[in-house]
């Protein structure tokens, strides 16, 4: 397993549990909506109610980010947002290349929110002549063969793969060869990469399986 080295934010004790990490963006979204509604303090039990979970778990989750609540009052919403954004590295805004400008790829490029969540797609790549040289929300789409040249002038640490599974491995190899350090793989295909490259798989089928299982049992 990859090293879970201690981070240098505000948290002191060891690694953040992964389930915690996955819940934090949801909290953040909720905190933002509170801010819009001019709510300035929120308690863990209130948060727990919204997400239908145990209040203590919320407290534990928040404590990993280093934020402190005030007894009897709760947590300051502005402080929560600031801490959360910085803890999740949503403020640094990493650059990414996107491969496969199909419906899903287009959806990700169009997601204006992604910038707020630490990711900036700086170029798209595809094999389809109809989309090459077009522009989506200011993001230019290039032919795959252009990647070699562009990856020299435009730097990105992240590659997003939204191609069909059949070309996922090929794209991954290409991206790794040209210096990408992490791959966000939306294809259903499992990809092989060198030890030091980070791969994060996103599969809607996993969620669908859980949904159907709960529905049918």
């Amino acid at each position: 397993m990859a090293n879970q080295g201690n981070n240098n934010h505000t948290a002191r004790h060891g690694a953040v549990p992964m389930p915690t990490l996955r819940r934090l963006p949801g909290y953040l979204n909720y905190f933002k909506s509170l801010k819009i509604n001019n709510v300035s303090y929120v308690s863990s039990s209130r948060i727990a109610g919204v997400f239908m979970m145990d209040a203590t778990l919320v407290t534990k989750d928040l404590s990993y980010t280093g934020v402190r609540g005030k007894t009897k009052i709760g947590y300051n919403v502005d402080e929560l947002i600031e801490t959360m954004v910085s803890f999740l590295d949503f403020d640094s805004c990493d650059s990414a290349f996107l491969f496969g400008v199909g419906n899903l790829g287009r959806a990700l490029i169009n997601y204006q929110g992604l910038n707020q969540y630490g990711l900036k797609i700086i170029a798209g790549f595809d094999v389809d002549k109809n989309v090459i040289n077009s522009s989506i929300k200011g993001v230019k789409i290039y032919g795959i063969d252009m990647f070699r040249d562009l990856s020299q002038t435009m730097a990105a640490r992240i590659a997003i793969i939204t191609t069909p599974g059949s070309s996922a491995q090929e794209i991954a190899d290409l991206a790794v060869a040209w210096g990408v350090r992490a791959i966000w793989n939306f294809s259903p295909q499992s990809i092989k990469v060198p030890e030091h490259i980070i791969v994060e798989n996103t599969s809607v089928y996993a969620d669908l399986a859980v949904l159907l299982h709960r529905l049918n049992n």
Copy 2:
């Protein structure tokens, strides 16, 4: 927590661990690719290699579905696929309404694969005059106001929410009122529903958070 009652497939012992359930669709996809390449047997250690995980865990995962391997030979690929599909209820093909025909909604409708994974989108709904009455891959798009009537003549147990977060709750309420039993929520908003309604949240931000965290630590 919802009842995890024993299922009536081949598995005998209690509930399937949720992490296992989430891994099964990935295995299934791999098994299908093996079949295409005319591979007829596969061992748990081989599977483990592809997914970079412990072989014993693969064995345990598979055993929950009731499939049995042959010592020294491994598991029969055809049998694996069949068992997996039936265990995950990917063969029954549940009907679903989709709300919010933006980029993501369109991506889901276009995903030809979804049918193979147990889900058939039978109608789309939106507020945008430009998409209402259009058709995507044979799926007709209606105005939200048409939902009341249509939900009487077209039955669906599942609602897919791909609207912006701001309208997610409203849509959820509507869907629940008209008899949907499960909601697949792609919006970043947490939604409140009656006890007996199943909600499955899919958020790309959770995965993104994990990716960025691993990259920056």
